[in-house]
């Protein structure tokens, strides 16, 4: 077990930190689930952090010079390399602390990226940083496509979804591939902590981000983040959708602590996946055949996670 977890009591709805690390006044869309997830994640981390942000929605909406929404030290460089920039910051603080140039006090180094920055273009950089064992938290805010550039498909776009580069048509039903299992790829690095989260379960989300910070070495939190603009869903429904995705088992919430899978929330009576899919325009074109396949595959994937969690 991770010794750092023993003292951590967890957050509760009544004792949420008051600090806003990402301040109001940013330019995110109405009902942005990603911003909500980012806000809660940052609340869990507090002020003693340094953030390296990949290019993407969160970077763009929080930093149009001369304005900034960040109340903590924050650095953006490029799309694919947030984890490596974080590696450099971590390495610098190690040597500077050793040489007495900065205080020895621990500061959490946090990298933030979307699903494209994490699962597609940046996967090599994250893989390198995780393999080298830098003490950092990597937060992936997964809104399941390249939203910042106008809703193009990514490897994390779900099966059947309509995007601007996977349009349904006479010869197509949208995204033809199953969503890339990025948390499993991260877990395969043998890092001490991996977790999935949804902003509808915000206390669970915050606890996981905090645990990721507490653990020594690389930690990864994959957060499902509804995007009303890209998904064609009402802005006020983001939390409802973020709950439905868990209740239908489409996104299982779990932790992988030192290789051991632990289900955070077992869904014994799942709602049908159509309850989730019908909330978003991106799935509207799907036919019986595809819906049946999604239900079957979701059940299989969920069973796999349950089986993994039952292994010693």
């Amino acid at each position: 077990m991770i010794p750092e977890f023993e003292k951590f009591k967890g957050f509760s709805a009544k004792t949420l930190p008051k600090d806003e690390i990402v301040a109001p006044g940013h330019r995110a869309c109405q009902g942005c689930g990603e911003m909500l997830a980012l806000r809660m994640a940052m609340k869990a981390l507090g002020k003693d952090i340094i953030v390296a942000n990949a290019t993407g929605c969160m970077e763009i909406v929080t930093s149009p010079f001369p304005q900034t929404a960040w109340t903590v030290p924050w650095l953006h460089v490029a799309f694919e390399n947030a984890a490596t920039v974080a590696s450099g910051i971590e390495a610098a603080r190690k040597v500077l602390a050793r040489k007495g140039k900065i205080p020895k006090k621990h500061i959490d180094i946090v990298a933030v990226g979307g699903d494209g920055a994490t699962g597609d273009i940046g996967i090599q950089w994250i893989s390198g940083a995780f393999e080298r064992g830098h003490d950092m938290v990597y937060i992936c805010l997964d809104n399941e496509a390249y939203m910042n550039t106008g809703v193009q498909r990514s490897g994390c776009t779900p099966y059947g979804a309509m995007t601007t580069t996977t349009p349904p048509g006479k010869e197509s039903f949208g995204q033809v591939t199953w969503k890339k299992n990025v948390p499993a790829i991260m877990a395969a690095h043998g890092i001490p902590y991996v977790a999935t989260a949804s902003p509808a379960y915000y206390v669970d989300l915050m606890n996981k981000v905090k645990k990721a910070a507490l653990v020594k070495g690389p930690a990864y939190v994959h957060i499902y983040s509804p995007c009303p603009t890209g998904w064609g869903s009402p802005g006020e429904k983001s939390i409802e959708i973020a709950r439905l995705v868990v209740e239908t088992r489409v996104v299982p919430l779990y932790e992988v602590i030192e290789g051991k899978y632990i289900l955070s929330r077992k869904i014994n009576k799942p709602k049908p996946v159509t309850d989730y899919l019908k909330t978003q325009r991106r799935f509207k074109h799907l036919k019986e055949e595809q819906l049946a396949y999604i239900q079957k595959r979701v059940d299989e994937e969920y069973d796999r996670i349950v089986k993994l969690s039952e292994m010693d």
Partner: protein, 394 residues
């Protein structure tokens, strides 16, 4: 006391990085840069240098790591060549406008295709607009001295810009030369501890690398350009201080046998030593030849170059170490044509030559051929815009 020892230039450069007390070193291996970073991993492993050595998974990551470390307030070092430098390219454009004094040694090597591990300047010439200060070393001693000078200048609060020292791959990086490594205490006095004016620090939060909307982007780019131009003063000052402390004087442009010279070779990097040998031989035969060597490539020392051209000079024969494909001439020739266009009075005739591509030897005879051709073209206009020397017909 510092003493002169026979040492491989790559090892001496790495020892200079150690003397400069780099704090975060991040690199990815590529020929011919490898001996530099291997030796640095040795000195870190042996405890001779208190630094973090981050062995990243690509050159792009090496530059990304240095950038993060520099933003956090550490003195950084990396080194690369060729394909690796190209892979870094996206990130090379960041530390300049962000005013992060990352220092890098490029062991210059040709670019594919066809793949070649050998020396020319194609790798760095495609990166000439990245907004770093750039110098070119002629020999091993100069490589060491320019590296120390790079830290002195890059981290100067008036400069705060990234710095590349170019050394020719193999022909300089892998040769053994007699080199003086300065004493640690003299280097410490020459390069003070890095004190960034802003850094990533929770006690004083800053936002770095924000979005540049159209209303500010132009100003940000111009501010960077002005900083790079203004750095020339500190670059020259840094060399003056270096001369005072270590006894070796460096200038943006070096001259050799320029008194009464009429035909002048213009070079950058290690071929300059061979050029001087060629000039001595041609002078012995009564030819009025001289050499101008460009040490400071960015910011380009235009006034210094124009001043270095004496009144007797009639013809400049400029040697580029890369083809600027489809252009009217190589990048060094283009730079010089541009600054001579502004030259008051009568500018010398200028002819562009390309030599030493992908490790092809540049010999005394190569320089003789170039001088002969330049003299011929001064009388009889050449048909081609520039000429590649030594192209085999079969």
């Amino acid at each position: 006391m510092s003493k002169r020892v026979g040492v491989e230039v790559s090892i001496a450069v790495a020892d200079a990085v150690k003397l400069a007390r780099a704090e975060v070193i991040s690199a990815y291996p590529i020929t011919p840069q490898t001996h530099i970073v291997e030796h640095l991993s040795d000195v870190v492993a042996n405890g001779e240098l208190d630094a973090e050595y981050v062995p990243v998974e690509s050159e792009h990551a090496a530059m990304s790591c240095c950038l993060g470390a520099s933003a956090a307030g550490a003195r950084t070092f990396t080194s690369s060549s060729s394909q690796g430098l190209s892979l870094m390219s996206e990130i090379l454009y960041h530390p300049g406008p962000m005013r992060l004094p990352v220092v890098m040694v490029v062991a210059n090597r040709a670019l594919a295709a066809p793949i070649s591990i050998w020396n020319d300047h194609n790798d760095i010439m495609v990166q000439r607009d990245i907004g770093w200060i750039q110098t070119f070393a002629e020999n091993g001693q100069e490589a060491v001295d320019l590296l120390l000078h790079a830290y002195r200048v890059a981290e100067d609060p008036k400069v705060s810009l990234p710095f590349i020292v170019n050394i020719d791959g193999f022909t300089l990086s892998h040769v053994i030369e007699p080199i003086i490594l300065p004493d640690q205490e003299d280097v410490d006095a020459y390069i003070p501890s890095f004190k960034p004016h802003v850094k990533l620090d929770p006690k004083k939060p800053v936002t770095m690398g924000p979005v540049g909307i159209p209303e500010v982007y132009t100003e940000a780019k111009v501010a960077h350009e002005m900083a790079l131009r203004a750095s020339k003063k500190v670059i020259i000052q840094g060399w003056k201080e270096f001369a005072g402390k270590f006894g070796r004087q460096y200038n943006p442009i070096e001259t050799y046998r320029m008194d009464d010279a009429e035909t002048v070779l213009v070079t950058m990097g290690s071929i300059s030593e061979t050029a001087m040998t060629a000039i001595d031989a041609m002078r012995d035969e009564g030819q009025k030849v001289g050499l101008l060597r460009i040490r400071l490539w960015r910011p380009f020392p235009g006034p210094e170059f124009r001043k270095a051209i004496g009144k007797t000079v009639k013809t400049l024969a400029v040697i580029d170490r890369t083809i600027s494909t489809g252009a009217s001439c190589g990048p060094v020739s283009a730079e010089l044509r541009s600054i001579l266009y502004k030259m008051p009075g009568r500018a010398p005739k200028i002819f562009g030559f390309v030599a030493g591509l992908g490790g092809r030897d540049v010999t005394v005879d190569t320089f003789r051929e170039i001088v002969d051709k330049a003299n011929l073209y001064a009388k009889k206009r050449p048909t081609d815009l520039y000429e590649v020397i030594g192209v085999r017909e079969k």
